[in-house]
Protein backbone atom coordinates (compact mmCIF):
# COMPACT_ATOMS: atom_id res chain seq x y z
CA UNK A 1 0.00 0.00 0.00
CA UNK A 2 2.79 2.34 0.99
CA UNK A 3 4.73 1.35 -2.11
CA UNK A 4 1.76 2.02 -4.31
CA UNK A 5 1.37 5.52 -2.88
CA UNK A 6 5.06 6.26 -3.42
CA UNK A 7 4.76 5.02 -6.99
CA UNK A 8 1.81 7.39 -7.57
CA UNK A 9 3.76 10.32 -6.18
CA UNK A 10 6.67 9.53 -8.49
CA UNK A 11 4.41 9.21 -11.52
CA UNK A 12 2.63 12.48 -10.74
CA UNK A 13 5.95 14.29 -10.36
CA UNK A 14 7.01 13.05 -13.80
CA UNK A 15 3.60 14.03 -15.17
CA UNK A 16 3.91 17.57 -13.80
CA UNK A 17 7.35 17.77 -15.42
CA UNK A 18 5.67 17.08 -18.77
CA UNK A 19 5.74 13.27 -19.07
CA UNK A 20 2.42 12.40 -20.69
CA UNK A 21 3.04 8.63 -20.56
CA UNK A 22 3.62 8.77 -16.79
CA UNK A 23 0.40 10.75 -16.44
CA UNK A 24 -1.49 8.15 -18.45
CA UNK A 25 -0.10 5.35 -16.25
CA UNK A 26 -0.99 7.24 -13.10
CA UNK A 27 -4.61 7.82 -14.15
CA UNK A 28 -4.87 4.12 -15.10
CA UNK A 29 -3.48 3.12 -11.71
CA UNK A 30 -5.75 5.29 -9.56
CA UNK A 31 -8.98 4.50 -11.43
CA UNK A 32 -9.70 1.06 -9.84
CA UNK A 33 -9.17 2.56 -6.39
CA UNK A 34 -11.52 5.45 -7.15
CA UNK A 35 -14.06 3.00 -8.58
CA UNK A 36 -14.05 0.77 -5.49
CA UNK A 37 -14.40 3.77 -3.17
CA UNK A 38 -17.23 5.25 -5.24
CA UNK A 39 -19.11 1.94 -5.15
CA UNK A 40 -18.65 1.76 -1.43
CA UNK A 41 -19.89 5.33 -0.98
CA UNK A 42 -22.97 4.67 -3.13
CA UNK A 43 -23.71 1.45 -1.27
CA UNK A 44 -23.48 3.23 2.06
CA UNK A 45 -25.91 5.88 0.82
CA UNK A 46 -28.30 3.18 -0.35
CA UNK A 47 -27.76 3.98 -4.02
CA UNK A 48 -27.25 1.45 -6.81
CA UNK A 49 -23.55 0.94 -7.56
CA UNK A 50 -24.06 1.27 -11.31
CA UNK A 51 -23.62 5.05 -11.02
CA UNK A 52 -20.07 4.62 -9.76
CA UNK A 53 -18.53 5.14 -13.18
CA UNK A 54 -20.06 8.60 -13.51
CA UNK A 55 -18.48 9.54 -10.19
CA UNK A 56 -15.13 8.07 -11.26
CA UNK A 57 -15.14 10.20 -14.42
CA UNK A 58 -16.12 13.25 -12.41
CA UNK A 59 -13.18 12.67 -10.04
CA UNK A 60 -10.76 12.11 -12.93
CA UNK A 61 -11.79 15.40 -14.53
CA UNK A 62 -11.32 17.23 -11.22
CA UNK A 63 -7.90 15.62 -10.70
CA UNK A 64 -6.93 16.80 -14.16
CA UNK A 65 -8.21 20.38 -13.90
CA UNK A 66 -7.01 20.98 -10.32
CA UNK A 67 -3.65 19.23 -10.46
CA UNK A 68 -1.80 22.55 -10.16
CA UNK A 69 -3.02 22.71 -6.52
CA UNK A 70 -0.95 19.63 -5.72
CA UNK A 71 2.39 20.48 -4.11
CA UNK A 72 5.04 18.42 -5.92
CA UNK A 73 6.95 18.02 -2.67
CA UNK A 74 3.96 16.46 -0.89
CA UNK A 75 2.73 12.86 -1.21
CA UNK A 76 0.10 12.46 -3.92
CA UNK A 77 -2.42 10.12 -2.23
CA UNK A 78 -3.74 12.56 0.45
CA UNK A 79 -4.34 15.19 -2.24
CA UNK A 80 -6.06 12.65 -4.50
CA UNK A 81 -8.30 11.36 -1.71
CA UNK A 82 -9.29 14.90 -0.70
CA UNK A 83 -10.34 15.65 -4.30
CA UNK A 84 -12.13 12.29 -4.61
CA UNK A 85 -13.93 12.68 -1.30
CA UNK A 86 -15.10 16.16 -2.28
CA UNK A 87 -16.47 14.86 -5.58
CA UNK A 88 -18.10 11.81 -4.02
CA UNK A 89 -19.88 13.93 -1.39
CA UNK A 90 -20.96 16.30 -4.15
CA UNK A 91 -22.31 13.43 -6.28
CA UNK A 92 -24.25 11.92 -3.38
CA UNK A 93 -25.62 15.32 -2.42
CA UNK A 94 -26.85 15.86 -5.97
CA UNK A 95 -28.67 12.55 -5.67
CA UNK A 96 -30.34 13.92 -2.58
CA UNK A 97 -28.37 11.95 -0.03
CA UNK A 98 -26.55 13.47 2.88
CA UNK A 99 -23.80 11.16 3.93
CA UNK A 100 -20.47 11.35 5.57
CA UNK A 101 -17.64 10.05 3.49
CA UNK A 102 -14.68 8.92 5.43
CA UNK A 103 -11.24 9.53 4.00
CA UNK A 104 -10.42 5.98 5.10
CA UNK A 105 -12.83 4.71 2.43
CA UNK A 106 -10.15 5.54 -0.07
CA UNK A 107 -7.21 4.34 1.94
CA UNK A 108 -8.93 0.99 2.58
CA UNK A 109 -9.58 0.37 -1.07
CA UNK A 110 -5.86 0.70 -1.69
CA UNK A 111 -5.32 -2.74 -0.23
CA UNK A 112 -8.15 -4.38 -2.16
CA UNK A 113 -7.67 -6.25 -5.39
CA UNK A 114 -8.92 -4.06 -8.22
CA UNK A 115 -11.95 -5.39 -10.03
CA UNK A 116 -11.71 -5.62 -13.78
CA UNK A 117 -15.15 -4.79 -15.07
CA UNK A 118 -16.15 -1.30 -16.11
CA UNK A 119 -19.72 -0.12 -15.87
CA UNK A 120 -20.74 2.42 -18.46
CA UNK A 121 -20.86 6.10 -17.62
CA UNK A 122 -23.55 8.30 -19.11
CA UNK A 123 -23.17 11.79 -17.66
CA UNK A 124 -19.94 12.85 -19.38
CA UNK A 125 -21.13 11.36 -22.68
CA UNK A 126 -24.45 13.21 -22.42
CA UNK A 127 -22.73 16.55 -21.80
CA UNK A 128 -20.40 16.02 -24.73
CA UNK A 129 -23.29 16.58 -27.10
CA UNK A 130 -23.85 20.05 -25.65
CA UNK A 131 -20.30 21.22 -26.45
CA UNK A 132 -19.49 23.53 -29.37
CA UNK A 133 -18.91 21.49 -32.54
CA UNK A 134 -15.16 22.09 -32.80
CA UNK A 135 -14.47 21.05 -29.18
CA UNK A 136 -16.68 17.99 -29.59
CA UNK A 137 -14.95 16.91 -32.79
CA UNK A 138 -11.51 17.27 -31.25
CA UNK A 139 -12.54 15.36 -28.11
CA UNK A 140 -14.15 12.65 -30.22
CA UNK A 141 -11.07 12.29 -32.39
CA UNK A 142 -8.73 11.91 -29.43
CA UNK A 143 -11.01 9.95 -27.08
CA UNK A 144 -12.95 7.65 -29.38
CA UNK A 145 -10.70 7.34 -32.41
CA UNK A 146 -7.50 7.47 -30.29
CA UNK A 147 -5.94 9.89 -32.74
CA UNK A 148 -2.89 11.87 -31.61
CA UNK A 149 -2.96 15.65 -31.39
CA UNK A 150 -0.86 15.76 -34.56
CA UNK A 151 -3.26 13.54 -36.53
CA UNK A 152 -6.26 15.43 -35.21
CA UNK A 153 -4.71 18.70 -36.34
CA UNK A 154 -4.13 17.28 -39.82
CA UNK A 155 -7.66 15.88 -40.04
CA UNK A 156 -9.38 19.16 -39.20
CA UNK A 157 -6.78 21.38 -40.93
CA UNK A 158 -6.03 23.08 -37.61
CA UNK A 159 -2.70 23.94 -36.01
CA UNK A 160 -1.57 21.65 -33.19
CA UNK A 161 -1.84 24.59 -30.82
CA UNK A 162 -5.48 25.14 -31.81
CA UNK A 163 -6.21 21.43 -31.21
CA UNK A 164 -4.63 21.67 -27.74
CA UNK A 165 -6.72 24.74 -26.92
CA UNK A 166 -9.95 23.11 -28.17
CA UNK A 167 -9.13 19.95 -26.21
CA UNK A 168 -8.50 21.83 -22.97
CA UNK A 169 -11.50 24.11 -23.37
CA UNK A 170 -13.66 21.09 -24.13
CA UNK A 171 -12.58 19.32 -20.95
CA UNK A 172 -13.04 22.46 -18.86
CA UNK A 173 -16.53 23.22 -20.16
CA UNK A 174 -17.49 19.55 -19.84
CA UNK A 175 -16.61 19.79 -16.15
CA UNK A 176 -18.53 23.05 -15.75
CA UNK A 177 -21.62 21.49 -17.37
CA UNK A 178 -21.41 18.45 -15.10
CA UNK A 179 -21.40 20.72 -12.07
CA UNK A 180 -24.38 22.72 -13.27
CA UNK A 181 -26.64 19.78 -14.00
Amino acid sequence: MREREDEWTGLMRSAMAGDGAAYHRLLKAITPVLRAASRRGLARAGQPPDQAEDIVQDILLAVHLKRHTWDVNAPFAPWLFAIARNKLIDALRRRGKRVFVNIDDFAETLSEEPKGETASATEVAAQLNALPARQREVLQSIAVESASIKDTAKKFAMSEGAVRVALHRGLASLTAKLREQ
Binding site: G18, Y23, K28, H64
Partner: protein, 214 residues
Protein backbone atom coordinates in the same frame (compact mmCIF):
# COMPACT_ATOMS: atom_id res chain seq x y z
CA UNK B 1 -21.43 9.56 -28.55
CA UNK B 2 -19.98 7.44 -25.76
CA UNK B 3 -17.04 8.08 -23.48
CA UNK B 4 -15.83 5.18 -21.41
CA UNK B 5 -13.31 5.75 -18.65
CA UNK B 6 -10.32 4.48 -20.63
CA UNK B 7 -11.15 6.93 -23.40
CA UNK B 8 -11.49 9.75 -20.90
CA UNK B 9 -8.10 8.87 -19.39
CA UNK B 10 -6.49 8.92 -22.83
CA UNK B 11 -8.02 12.33 -23.46
CA UNK B 12 -6.84 13.74 -20.14
CA UNK B 13 -3.32 12.42 -20.77
CA UNK B 14 -3.33 14.12 -24.18
CA UNK B 15 -4.08 17.40 -22.39
CA UNK B 16 -1.09 17.04 -20.02
CA UNK B 17 0.83 19.68 -21.96
CA UNK B 18 -1.63 22.29 -20.72
CA UNK B 19 -0.08 23.88 -17.63
CA UNK B 20 -2.54 25.77 -15.43
CA UNK B 21 -1.21 28.86 -13.63
CA UNK B 22 -0.61 28.65 -9.88
CA UNK B 23 -3.52 29.87 -7.75
CA UNK B 24 -1.38 32.61 -6.18
CA UNK B 25 -0.63 34.08 -9.60
CA UNK B 26 -4.31 34.18 -10.61
CA UNK B 27 -5.35 35.61 -7.23
CA UNK B 28 -2.71 38.36 -7.52
CA UNK B 29 -3.90 39.26 -11.04
CA UNK B 30 -7.51 39.48 -9.89
CA UNK B 31 -6.66 41.66 -6.89
CA UNK B 32 -4.54 43.96 -9.04
CA UNK B 33 -7.49 44.36 -11.39
CA UNK B 34 -9.95 45.09 -8.56
CA UNK B 35 -7.79 47.41 -6.43
CA UNK B 36 -8.20 50.43 -8.78
CA UNK B 37 -12.00 50.07 -8.51
CA UNK B 38 -11.85 50.22 -4.72
CA UNK B 39 -9.35 53.09 -4.83
CA UNK B 40 -11.62 55.01 -7.20
CA UNK B 41 -14.50 54.53 -4.76
CA UNK B 42 -12.23 55.76 -1.97
CA UNK B 43 -11.03 58.92 -3.71
CA UNK B 44 -14.43 59.84 -5.13
CA UNK B 45 -16.34 59.37 -1.85
CA UNK B 46 -13.85 59.89 0.97
CA UNK B 47 -10.25 60.91 0.23
CA UNK B 48 -7.30 61.09 2.59
CA UNK B 49 -7.86 63.15 5.76
CA UNK B 50 -6.48 66.72 5.43
CA UNK B 51 -4.17 66.53 8.47
CA UNK B 52 -2.48 63.32 7.31
CA UNK B 53 1.03 64.79 7.57
CA UNK B 54 0.67 65.49 11.29
CA UNK B 55 -1.38 62.33 11.91
CA UNK B 56 1.54 60.25 10.69
CA UNK B 57 3.45 61.24 13.81
CA UNK B 58 0.71 59.73 15.98
CA UNK B 59 1.61 56.09 16.71
CA UNK B 60 -2.10 55.22 17.09
CA UNK B 61 -2.72 56.43 13.51
CA UNK B 62 0.14 54.27 12.26
CA UNK B 63 -1.09 51.31 14.30
CA UNK B 64 -4.32 51.23 12.25
CA UNK B 65 -2.28 50.40 9.14
CA UNK B 66 -0.24 47.77 10.94
CA UNK B 67 -3.49 46.06 12.00
CA UNK B 68 -5.29 46.27 8.65
CA UNK B 69 -2.24 45.25 6.63
CA UNK B 70 -1.57 42.35 9.00
CA UNK B 71 -5.19 41.25 8.52
CA UNK B 72 -4.89 41.49 4.73
CA UNK B 73 -1.58 39.59 4.69
CA UNK B 74 -2.96 36.88 6.98
CA UNK B 75 -6.02 36.64 4.73
CA UNK B 76 -3.92 36.20 1.59
CA UNK B 77 -1.75 33.52 3.20
CA UNK B 78 -4.78 31.68 4.59
CA UNK B 79 -6.65 31.88 1.26
CA UNK B 80 -3.74 30.28 -0.55
CA UNK B 81 -3.50 27.63 2.15
CA UNK B 82 -7.20 26.79 1.86
CA UNK B 83 -7.07 26.64 -1.93
CA UNK B 84 -5.37 23.25 -1.59
CA UNK B 85 -7.80 20.40 -0.96
CA UNK B 86 -5.86 18.25 1.48
CA UNK B 87 -4.52 20.77 3.98
CA UNK B 88 -5.36 20.47 7.68
CA UNK B 89 -7.56 23.16 9.20
CA UNK B 90 -5.25 23.92 12.10
CA UNK B 91 -2.41 25.30 10.03
CA UNK B 92 -3.52 28.85 9.43
CA UNK B 93 -5.54 30.16 12.38
CA UNK B 94 -2.52 31.58 14.19
CA UNK B 95 -1.99 34.07 11.34
CA UNK B 96 -5.00 36.04 12.55
CA UNK B 97 -3.52 36.27 16.04
CA UNK B 98 -1.12 38.92 14.66
CA UNK B 99 -3.68 41.67 13.84
CA UNK B 100 -5.69 40.82 16.97
CA UNK B 101 -2.54 40.99 19.10
CA UNK B 102 -1.55 44.34 17.58
CA UNK B 103 -4.99 45.72 18.47
CA UNK B 104 -4.76 44.41 22.03
CA UNK B 105 -1.32 45.98 22.41
CA UNK B 106 -2.73 49.24 21.05
CA UNK B 107 -5.57 49.26 23.59
CA UNK B 108 -3.10 48.57 26.41
CA UNK B 109 -0.75 51.28 25.14
CA UNK B 110 -3.51 53.88 24.88
CA UNK B 111 -4.77 53.05 28.37
CA UNK B 112 -1.35 53.98 29.76
CA UNK B 113 -1.30 57.39 28.08
CA UNK B 114 -2.95 60.44 29.67
CA UNK B 115 -6.35 60.94 28.01
CA UNK B 116 -8.23 64.10 27.13
CA UNK B 117 -11.38 62.21 26.13
CA UNK B 118 -13.36 59.66 28.16
CA UNK B 119 -13.20 56.05 27.04
CA UNK B 120 -16.75 55.84 25.65
CA UNK B 121 -16.22 58.97 23.56
CA UNK B 122 -13.11 57.46 22.01
CA UNK B 123 -14.92 54.18 21.37
CA UNK B 124 -18.00 55.74 19.78
CA UNK B 125 -15.88 58.22 17.81
CA UNK B 126 -17.40 60.43 15.15
CA UNK B 127 -17.14 58.28 12.02
CA UNK B 128 -18.73 54.98 12.98
CA UNK B 129 -21.47 55.16 10.37
CA UNK B 130 -19.07 56.05 7.54
CA UNK B 131 -16.73 53.32 8.72
CA UNK B 132 -19.49 50.70 8.73
CA UNK B 133 -20.55 51.71 5.20
CA UNK B 134 -17.26 52.49 3.48
CA UNK B 135 -15.27 49.42 4.51
CA UNK B 136 -17.88 46.89 3.27
CA UNK B 137 -18.53 48.85 0.06
CA UNK B 138 -14.86 49.17 -0.83
CA UNK B 139 -14.39 45.48 0.05
CA UNK B 140 -16.92 44.23 -2.44
CA UNK B 141 -14.83 44.57 -5.65
CA UNK B 142 -11.86 42.98 -3.86
CA UNK B 143 -14.03 40.18 -2.48
CA UNK B 144 -15.55 39.43 -5.88
CA UNK B 145 -12.08 39.38 -7.44
CA UNK B 146 -10.62 37.10 -4.80
CA UNK B 147 -13.53 34.65 -5.07
CA UNK B 148 -12.99 34.57 -8.85
CA UNK B 149 -9.28 33.98 -8.32
CA UNK B 150 -9.85 31.26 -5.73
CA UNK B 151 -12.19 29.40 -8.09
CA UNK B 152 -8.95 28.43 -9.78
CA UNK B 153 -8.00 26.52 -6.63
CA UNK B 154 -9.57 23.45 -5.06
CA UNK B 155 -10.94 24.49 -1.66
CA UNK B 156 -12.71 21.58 0.03
CA UNK B 157 -14.16 23.98 2.65
CA UNK B 158 -15.73 26.56 0.34
CA UNK B 159 -17.57 28.60 2.99
CA UNK B 160 -14.45 28.90 5.13
CA UNK B 161 -12.32 29.82 2.11
CA UNK B 162 -14.90 32.49 1.21
CA UNK B 163 -14.91 33.84 4.77
CA UNK B 164 -11.12 34.11 4.70
CA UNK B 165 -11.33 35.93 1.35
CA UNK B 166 -13.75 38.29 3.11
CA UNK B 167 -11.23 38.93 5.90
CA UNK B 168 -8.55 39.69 3.35
CA UNK B 169 -10.79 42.07 1.35
CA UNK B 170 -11.91 43.84 4.51
CA UNK B 171 -8.27 44.20 5.58
CA UNK B 172 -7.37 45.87 2.27
CA UNK B 173 -10.45 48.11 2.23
CA UNK B 174 -9.84 49.09 5.87
CA UNK B 175 -6.28 50.08 4.94
CA UNK B 176 -7.69 52.61 2.47
CA UNK B 177 -10.34 53.74 4.94
CA UNK B 178 -7.86 54.21 7.79
CA UNK B 179 -6.18 57.04 5.90
CA UNK B 180 -9.50 58.90 5.76
CA UNK B 181 -10.81 58.31 9.27
CA UNK B 182 -9.89 60.74 12.05
CA UNK B 183 -10.72 58.28 14.81
CA UNK B 184 -7.40 56.74 15.76
CA UNK B 185 -8.27 55.19 19.11
CA UNK B 186 -7.71 51.40 19.13
CA UNK B 187 -11.05 51.21 20.95
CA UNK B 188 -12.77 52.68 17.89
CA UNK B 189 -10.83 50.40 15.53
CA UNK B 190 -11.59 47.30 17.61
CA UNK B 191 -15.30 48.08 17.66
CA UNK B 192 -16.21 49.45 14.27
CA UNK B 193 -13.54 48.04 11.99
CA UNK B 194 -14.26 44.63 13.49
CA UNK B 195 -18.00 44.96 12.92
CA UNK B 196 -17.44 46.03 9.32
CA UNK B 197 -14.97 43.15 8.84
CA UNK B 198 -17.47 40.68 10.31
CA UNK B 199 -20.07 41.82 7.80
CA UNK B 200 -17.68 41.34 4.87
CA UNK B 201 -16.59 37.97 6.26
CA UNK B 202 -20.21 36.81 6.37
CA UNK B 203 -20.78 37.89 2.78
CA UNK B 204 -17.57 36.08 1.85
CA UNK B 205 -18.71 32.87 3.55
CA UNK B 206 -22.04 32.97 1.70
CA UNK B 207 -20.35 33.70 -1.63
CA UNK B 208 -17.78 30.99 -0.97
CA UNK B 209 -20.33 28.28 -0.27
CA UNK B 210 -22.05 29.25 -3.50
CA UNK B 211 -19.14 29.86 -5.87
CA UNK B 212 -16.10 28.02 -4.50
CA UNK B 213 -17.42 24.46 -4.80
CA UNK B 214 -15.69 22.44 -7.46
Amino acid sequence: MRMDTDQLIRTLAADNSYRPRPVGFVLALMLLAAAPVSLLMFFSMLGVRPDVMTAMHNPLFDLKFAVTLALAAAGIAASLHLSRPEVPLAGFGWLFVIPAGLLAAGIAGEAMMPQRLPMMTRLVGSNSRVCMTAIPLMSLPLLAASILGLRHGAPTRPALAGAVAGLMSAGLAATFYASHCTDDSPLFVTTWYTLATALVTTIGALAGSRFLRF
